[in-house]
Symmetry: C2
Subunit: 356 residues, 2 copies
């Protein structure tokens, strides 16, 4: 039976990425050695790092004056590195969920954090709007996509200061205007590659402005100056990321994949709005995530939740159980998810509707 991988992360990757990584695990770049056992300073691996950085710049149209880094430690380490490197006195944060809350917690170790708005009052099932951002905030931090709650901010907030964004779960799903950002960061394990690589795009002239001493490994400038080779990078993971970037370019880049993502999300949300058994957890279509579609049983069908999970699992749907803090279901439909898998889920929902 075909499996449809709806895991929220680590999550579905292109067949191309998996096959190329498997090949390089035993024979990398024709060396006869594994990518895991050659020096990160070998010409073969340096070429991997260079190409990965160049493709990030090409696909996201990164302007001059930015450095592309492949670090370690996930977005959770960026929650700390961002204020360590950028905050002198005050920063503004938008609270749209669990990850944003964790970013806020770490930033408070470094200065005054203004939480400009929060949707915690409704379990983060909407994106706050109409908030004011203090003019003296040094940057405005937000989370573009909220994996747990199924919300997404597709358009850059219009604020006077540089943006900083955690794009872990929707980077490369659509074009973006990098010039508005001081820092963009993303754990690799959704739209990019294996967990263990963390992509950071940093504006060079946003650095060097804080007075505190930054520990070496937390200093963006150190990593930027050394081209992400200050210490041994996560070589196998970076290799995997490169394969996905090559695949994405071959799909037509972020402009082309956005069209597919819009279509996939529409197919699923249309069904949720139609099918009487299910209710999407995010009511406002404008706030709905294209990456993580969260839904629960309609109140009158609450007792068949477990039954639907078993029904769908038996049909090859993997990883659709919702996060414990929201309940219900979550279908994560990242770049690599084929439209046919989304259709298969919709058909499963329709079949289940018939037998209830």
């Amino acid at each position: 039976m075909k499996k449809h991988n709806f895991y929220a992360g680590p999550s579905i990757l292109p067949e191309f990425t998996k096959e190329k990584t498997a090949e390089a695990a035993v024979n990398f770049a024709g060396t006869g050695l594994s990518v895991m056992e050659v020096s990160h300073r070998s010409k073969e691996f340096v070429a991997v790092m260079d190409e990965a950085q160049a493709l990030v710049k090409e696909l996201l149209h990164v302007p001059d004056g930015y450095s592309v880094l492949f670090l370690q430690g996930g977005a959770s380490t960026q929650f700390l590195m961002v204020p360590y490197n950028l905050m002198n006195k005050k920063a503004a944060y938008l609270n749209t969920g669990s990850w944003a809350s964790k970013a806020i917690k770490e930033a408070k170790l470094f200065g005054e954090v203004v939480e400009v708005a929060s949707s915690k009052d409704a379990n983060f099932n909407y994106i706050p709007k109409g908030y004011e951002v203090p003019a003296d905030a040094e940057y405005f931090h937000y989370t573009t996509n909220n994996t747990i709650y199924g919300t997404e901010i597709l358009k850059e907030p219009e604020v006077a200061m540089p943006l900083v964004a955690d794009m872990s779960s929707d980077i490369f799903s659509r074009p973006l205007d990098v010039s508005k950002y001081a820092v963009i960061y993303a754990g690799a394990q959704k739209n990019l590659g294996p967990s263990g690589a963390t992509l950071v795009i940093v504006k060079d002239d946003a650095l060097g402005k804080v007075e505190r001493t930054i520990p070496t490994m937390l200093d963006y400038k150190i990593h930027a100056d050394k081209g992400s080779m200050f210490n041994t990078p996560s070589t196998l993971a970076v290799f995997g990321c490169l394969q996905t970037l090559i695949w994405l370019k071959d799909q037509g880049g972020v402009e082309a994949i956005e069209k597919v993502n819009i279509e996939k999300a529409s197919i699923l949300y249309d069904e949720l709005d139609r099918n009487k058994l299910f209710v999407p957890t995010v009511a406002d279509p404008e706030d709905r995530s294209r990456m993580n579609v969260t839904f629960v049983m309609a109140p009158e069908y609450g007792e068949v939740e477990k039954e639907f999970l078993e029904f769908a699992t038996a049909r090859g749907m993997i990883g659709i159980k919702g996060h414990r803090s929201v309940g219900g279901f979550r279908a994560s439909i990242y770049n690599a998810m084929p439209t046919d898998s989304v259709k298969a889920l919709v058909e499963t929902m329709q079949e289940f509707e018939k037998i209830r």
Copy 2:
């Protein structure tokens, strides 16, 4: 032509590790999915993490009261985490090379660092002895093996306070007495697995004694309490580490591999002491590393250094160029290096001797 992989790191891994990782990159634990695309909280990956931690405990005879962590960021991040978590006022460090120096630099951000001895006066080509350690130092930090300079400390220093050791390049090469340590850490990319995983063995009751606030991702206790699953671990890299641990157990564990390592190192050092063309950079046999054998041309043969490199490379010897700060050659002969490859290098040196 067979290649003999003498890279210093990332470096040679067992065929078993490479083949199993390649297989799991496309089909992990019979799921039909890649290990890169299943949730780290799936039962299949949780089993990987649990088994890896259990095997570390078994192979190194880790006593009760210690936590085994698989983190990210390499040993370089541990240079920072160790003092963040353990140093209140004062710590003692032994300076045996570049990595020890970097550890000292980071520790100075947190308190008084006493460098008890250094071999910098002779480009770190020996291990300092007979130093005094201040009784009020909270821990004593040292680097067990110095990859660049080819020195190794095989016996735990006899000091009154807990030890902390960077064992990146010789962990699992021999038995050790874990009970003497507050923290042992190691980047995976020598004797363990792919870069991107960092092994930390931490004594639970050494934690919680500093007064400073520790950022979440730098706090050992957070990671220990969550079984290395506080944030998404480097799943593919941890999978690779597990394979090497399984392989090592199958070899007879660290007790058996130590015998092989002693034999391999002897074969090479014996040739260096005999062959008139070469001189080992570490004179005292007691200080010589079993993992990284560093040597230069004898002064009267200095002009043929480049020629030997080409001669050896043409015979399949990969990665034997010495680090730029030492020059000459370095043969890294970690656990996974077959004795036959060491013999092949020795034969190459003998052949070269004949034609000079």
